[in-house]
Every structure is written in C-alpha cells, then in structure tokens.
Point group: C2
Chain length 486, copies 2
C-alpha cells in the first residue's frame, strides 16, 4: 500500500526514517485483522495521501526525488527494532532445547516484560538486563551503546530469581523460562546472575521507599534476591487469550499501520484511565497544532497501558470498551486514530516512568509525545500529597538523555468549564468557573450512579463505566449480605 | 617556569589541553607559598623535564612543533574553569550591595559548598542548583549544556532555606549569603526557589532512606523545605583559619602547580582516611604503570577530603599530619606528589558520590583517577551489610556520562601479606596468607595502643594516629572519671 509520491513533510529528516527492509516489506501487506469488529472504523480505507496536493521534494544529494512514503518517521532506539520471537521453522528445535535447560519461573508481570522485550518496545534491549545495563538504568536513566550513542532507559527491566532457582541453574549458560501457566515461553542465553538489592532499586526508581507502592508490593517485595540477565528468545508470540489480543499491536505492526496510513506525524497518548472529553480536547488540539505546523496527516496513537495496574484502576477490558465508545461517538476521529494496547506493566514511578512510556512509543514509530500533569504519578502511599511534583514529569522528560529526537508536547490542564458546559483548557483568569474532576471523583460519580456534568464524557463511554461499577458493587455486596444474614 | 621543549606524551590529545590564557599566565608564576614548612619537600625544585631526553614532536597541522609544556592535560568541564570570587577592586561595592539584600543563612556545610562552587570544582556550575539542574542531577547524574554536550553532576549541590527566609526574600531577585559566623560571604543572583522534597532527594542520591545517613542527619533532616538556586558571587576567598588553609589549593592553583612541575599525567587519589602502606602500594604501582605506558612525569595528587565527615572518621588536621609523615618517611615520593585538601563535604553516597569525587578532580586537572573497593561507601545504617555493593562504585564510575575523557584506574585489593610481612595485592591463590585490616580494625589497634603488623603503616604515620586516639581517650575518660568519683 505504499504510494510513490513526492512528499515534503515540514520536519522531514531523512536520517530519522526507518530504513529496515522488514518495515518496507510489511508496508506492502494489507493488515486489517488486528482490529475488532467493534472498532470497524479502523479497518476502513481512511486516508489517501496520494490524493493530496503535495509540494515537490527538493533534490538532496544522494537521494531520489521519488521515494516510498513511509510514516516510520523516527528510527527505533539503536537503529533496528528488536524482534526476539523465534522463526516458526526453528520453533520445534528451540522447544526441545528449552526443555533440556534448567528453568526459571515467570510471574504474570515477568511475562508482560517478556512480551515487551520480545517485540522491541525496549529496543535495543535484547533481554532482561545484565548488571551493566541495570546500573546505568538506576543511575543515569540511559544506556550507552557500543558506538558511543545514548538511548533512554529509565526503568530496570529485570527478572528476579530466588536462591533455589539460582542453585538449580548452577553453571548453566542458558535457562528455560516457564510462564505462569507452566508452559515454556522462552530461553535466556549467556546469562548473568547478580544481587537484587531491592531497597536500592526501589529508592532509585521511585524516589521513596515508603510501603504501599503497588508495583513493589506485587512484583518486588516477595521476589527473589537475585536478578538474572541475558539474551532473550521467545518461542512464540505472547498471547493472553482475553479477547483483547487483536489490540496488542507490536511496534512493527504499528509502524506498518502508520506506513499504510501514510502518516507524516505520529503523536502518542499514553493512558491508563477512561478517556474523558478533556483528554479528547487535548488530543484534538494537538492534531490541530500539528496541522498548523504544516503536517498533512498526523495520526494519533491512542495507547492504553495493558499490563499490570493497581487494584483501583479501571480494568483493561472495561477501558477498551470505553475507548471504543469514545471513537464510536465521534469524540475522536477514527480516521486519524489508532487504538492499540501497550503491553507494559505500570510502575507508578512518575518522572522515571514517563521516560519509559515515551521511549517505548518512539520504538513504535511515534515522533510526538503528549505529556500532561503528573504523568505516571499517584498519591504518596503514606502521606497526604502527590508522590511526585506534578510538573516534574514533563520537565524530566524534556531533559531526558536519549529522547532528544522525540518532540515532547506538554499540554495545559483541561477542566470542566461550568459556564461553557464542556471540558476546556483551564483559564486562570476565571478560575472559579472551572471544576476539576479527578479520577477519584469520576469513579465516585460512576459508583454512585450519579451523572457527571454534561460534556464531561460522551454518553456511550460513561455508560460503560457506570455498568462496570454497578457490576463491582453487585459482586461486593453479595458476600457482605451473606455475612449480615448469617 | 614553563620550558619550551619538544615533547610527545604517549596519549597526547591536543584538544584535551587547557588553552585558557589564565592557565598559561599562571604557569609562568612560581608558586611555593601554599605548602607548609612541614611539607617543605614540595617546595623544592623537583623535576626538570628539559633535562630529559625527549622524542621530538611530529608535526601536526596547525600546530607549532615547539610549544610550552603544560600539565593542564584535560579541560575543565564546560571548557572554562569557573571562578566566582569577586575582584578585589569590586569587593567594597559588592559588600555594600550585599548588605542591602534580604539574607539567607549558611550552615558550615553550606559554606563548604560555597567554597567548592566558587573555586570551580563543580564547573560549569556557577551557583547553587536551580530546579532544572537539580532534576537532571537526581535523575541522570549529569547536566546537558547549551551546546548539547554533557557534563557529569551526580550530587545535588543545593541550598535549603526555611519558610521564614523564603518569606523574607519575597520578590527579590538576589539574596545575601551570611556565613555561620554571621559575616556576609556572597550574593546569589537571579534566584529561583523551589520545593525541597527531602525524601526524594535522599532516596535518589543514596539509594536508601534508612535513618542514620551522616550527611542526611546533619545537613538535610533539619534543613528548610525550600531550595534556592542562583548564580553565586563570593565576596572574598573562603578561608577556615585552622592552620590548614595553605593546603587548600583551588583547581586553578593545582593546575598551575601541575604546569610548574611539567606533569604529563596527573593521577588523583581521593581519601578520607589515614594513608597505610596498601594505599601507598597502589599509588606507587599506578605511577609505575603510567611510566610503563610511556609517560615521563606522572604526578600524584594525594587529595584528602576536607569538608564534613562523619564523627568516627579521623579528623582532617590529624589526617594531614599523618599524610605529611607518610611523605617524610619516604613511603610516597615527595618529588612526584602533591598533597592538597579537597574542600567538599562528604555524602557517603557510594557510586553516586564517587562520580562527584572524580569530576571535581578533572576540574583540578587530573586526567587519571584511582578507584578502589567501595568508594565513598559505608556500612548500611540499619542493616549488617555494606550500604553499596563494593564493586558498584568503579562500575558506575566507568560508565558515568560526562566522564568519558577521564582515565579510570581501578585497583586490586591490597591486604597485609603475613608471609612477606608487608602490604601487597591480594593473591586469591593463597588467600589464607592475607590479613584484611579494615578502617575499624585499624582504629581499634590505634585506640588500644596495640601495634598493627609490621609494614602496615610507616612508624611516623602510625604514631600520629596513636597520639590522636590517646588524646581522645583522655578527653573521654575525664568526665567519666569525674562521674565515677562523684
């Protein structure tokens, strides 16, 4: 579907384009089967760049003036997108090999990381971190490559094992990785085992060691005292069979889809909450700004996080249903939006984690990243305050080593304008007209069945939330009533 | 005293040489008054490079083959050494101005930082950090400069103020800094006040928030809840009048001294403990290695830390006396050694702090840095273990952004060889022959008046320590006896 046209995007930088043959090959295959019937609008032919009137490309030394338009506008970190899934023809042999190796057991969150690494979201990382990578991540939030260049890497992507596993591995150079269901998932090669100093990891990643950090409680506190790094091979693509796998597009698939749509800018929006009209406002506003900058076809990657989230966040399936309503209701334009799941687990590590969120989207082909107030933040687990200064996320992101090539788009706070009766950018000159509806307040509305102010969220999306909280209350009330009756 | 000779140092990199006119001018002035009479060996004319047989310099484009030999082998971070002491002619006017400004009070440790910043140890930092620098330090251990280059900066160099001071400053753009004795010390201009999140600062700097970190207890716990950053001007050079000021050579003075000695390599050794023969072994071994590499005149910068240290460390005056004995006894060669005080306070922040220790020495002209086991480390304040993995310091240092131009010299562990009866590099093949004498063990020997094994430390140096601990015991026993007698 690549068209051969003359194109001159306003910020066109030849170096930043993907030149991998794989990407070019993929761009030729029509791919529609990743989208659910519900989100059918995404499968429509949407945008024909070759129908546009395009300025001609000035001649550059060593370049043809006619070339394939690709929306792979930005190179993945390290230049090549990592892909660690074993070729189908080698699968049986690798499985046999894996069966012969000592084993390490993966938790569900470990498996999410295997997924993340195997598809290249963490490119150029090729496996769980060895100590050299781990230390650079903890201290510098970035990795230096052999050629001296620097890529961003702010979260330790590590695999913990306990004493018994370490002993069982002995002097083996490789281990088989066993998923939470007991199936062999992959092989870790050229392994290195080193100490898991949890206190230091937590302090340097979260900037606190207070008890009650969700990821720490679930994934670190009870984990083993050793970390095992090595090169990963995954026996087959990771699937969850939860009815949402079609949303889980890999960075390669996303890049292919951007190519197919002939995007000349891709702006990513990370979220782990339902989309309200404030979010929509800023996504639409961003598109407007990009058009004003001269881009002809900016594509929005609406990219909900699909891995581990804390217990009181809205679950992934509900969020996906809500997001699809938002598009069905026309709040976002399906023609210029791709909805897909980002398979990473959530750390709630604020300024440290927002770098990961942005870096992974670079690998998926996004060259613009929207960042708001307190990204990846949460309340302090033991004190009555935000864990992070709400402005630090965007400040840290804008200065992060290795992310210089990404355009950061900070946005103004949106709130409910009680005069205009819609979500609008907060205007400090008439502050009293604005109502801030936090996630907590939104959940309380939905729980109590009370409607939020008109214009806060599209009715279809709101209904999804109300139904979810109703079902929760039904579940919660059943055992309680039993107790009361007993 | 610069000689015009033809020289071809083995790792000569013209770009890394200081080209500042100030450095060149300084190299012409003989300077001897910085050394105490006790260390008279340092004032002798020591090394005449022009007496050596030197290979001729190959012609390089744009370079004269005859040039002034300068030991300023490495550029300060940012290219120019920062010097923030007001010119004498402007002093009175600035003092008058400072008197008119709102004031911020400095603790003794704050004053040490003023000293450090004003002399350029933290170049290119020109004052206490604003939030942008603070965040980069906490998250990335480095600062990006306007030209896109990166300098190392691992410790937050910040000034805390309390609510009252913040209120008193109001909208003023500048503040006067008042020393612990009540005297006006300097001015901070173009100030920025931002929140002092102590928990986050501590967690990200130390990798723990456990109670009992010496710097935290003394300098952070009771500090104010705001940080004030800005450009520093110091009204006159900081002096302590403790009889040791002549040891406090600024980076500019050190570079001048290296120039005067016509060093072609400068290797720095940071310490906060008495020098035993194990230290001496590795310093002498380093010199040997540098000579083997082809350097003709490597100079050792023996550089004890002179700022805040924890209560059970040996005090600075005792250490300086001990160091001078080590040189008098000939354990180190006075002809190729410079002893000076590094005015920074100590954080005991292990891998984070060792970067600061190395970076500051680059600014003082060192192009080689010796790093040993567990640099800037200590025991965990609440657990029975080292706070840091003893190998992490040198690993982190070797990967630290902004320190690529510095040659890191990791060294093998030295221990007391009970067969050879001397300090020697530990030989794991006959581990049982070696005795590790920790700082604690050393202090216990000295305290009890017991002699350590022959060859552990030169007798003159040991005597200094024994006398110090005797004086301590006398002090301690006096009030106790009083109590017993009462």
């Amino acid at each position: 579907m690549t068209s051969t046209v003359k194109l001159h995007p306003p910020c066109f930088v030849p170096k930043a384009r993907s030149s991998s043959p794989a990407a070019a090959a993929l761009a030729l295959k029509p791919r529609t089967h990743h989208f659910s019937p519900k989100l059918r609008f995404l499968t429509k032919p949407i945008y024909h760049l070759n129908e546009l009137s395009l300025p001609s490309l000035p001649k550059r030394p060593g370049m043809s003036t006619a070339f394939s338009v690709k929306s792979s506008l930005i190179d993945p970190d390290g230049g090549v997108l990592v892909d660690l899934v074993v070729d189908e023809k080698d699968r049986a042999a690798r499985m046999t090999e894996a069966e012969s190796l000592p084993r390490a057991r993966l938790t569900r969150i470990d498996l999410e990381w295997v997924h993340v690494i195997s598809e290249g979201w963490a490119s150029p990382l090729k496996g769980f971190m060895r100590e050299t990578e781990y230390l650079q991540t903890l201290h510098f939030n970035c990795l230096r490559l052999e050629d001296g260049s620097v890529v961003n890497m702010s979260l330790p992507i590590v695999l913990a094992i306990d004493d018994e596993t370490r002993e069982a591995i002995g002097g083996s150079d490789s281990v088989g990785l066993v998923g939470p269901e007991g199936d062999l998932v992959g092989i870790l090669r050229r392994i290195e085992i080193y100490k898991h100093n949890k206190e230091e990891r937590i302090a340097r990643t979260w900037g606190t060691t207070a008890p009650g950090l969700p990821y720490v409680d679930v994934a670190i506190a009870s984990a083993g005292d050793w970390l095992i790094g090595g090169d990963l091979e995954v026996l087959k693509p990771i699937k969850y069979n939860d009815g949402l796998d079609h949303y889980r597009l890999s960075p390669k698939q996303l890049r292919q889809e951007f190519d197919r749509r002939q995007a000349d800018a891709v702006f990513a929006f990370q979220l782990r909450n339902p989309v309200h009209n404030g979010h929509a406002l800023l996504m639409n506003d961003t598109r407007k700004r990009l058009l004003e900058m001269g881009y002809k076809n900016p594509i929005l990657l609406l990219h909900p996080l699909g891995g581990f989230t804390k217990a009181d966040d809205v679950p992934l399936d509900v969020r996906m249903e809500q997001h699809s309503k938002v598009l069905e209701d026309g709040v976002l334009d399906p023609q210029t939006t791709i909805v897909a799941i980002f398979p990473s687990p959530m750390h709630y590590a604020g300024p440290t984690e927002v770098q990961w969120h942005a870096k992974a989207r670079v690998n998926a082909g996004a060259n613009f990243y929207i960042v708001g107030r307190d990204p990846a933040g949460m309340g302090h687990p033991t004190e009555k305050r935000d864990l992070y200064d709400p402005d630090h996320g965007k400040k840290v992101l804008s200065m992060a080593p290795g992310l210089e090539k990404l355009n950061i788009l900070p946005f103004r706070v949106a709130a409910y304008d009680t005069v205009e009766k819609k979500m609008a950018f907060f205007d400090p000159s008439r502050a009293k007209d604005f109502l801030f509806i936090s996630g907590t307040k939104m959940r309380n509305y939905a729980r109590s069945g009370e409607n939020p102010p008109d214009g806060f969220m599209c009715p279809g999306g709101w209904e999804v939330l109300v139904n979810y909280y109703k079902s929760l209350q039904a579940e919660e009330s059943t055992p309680q009533q039993t107790v009361l009756l007993a």
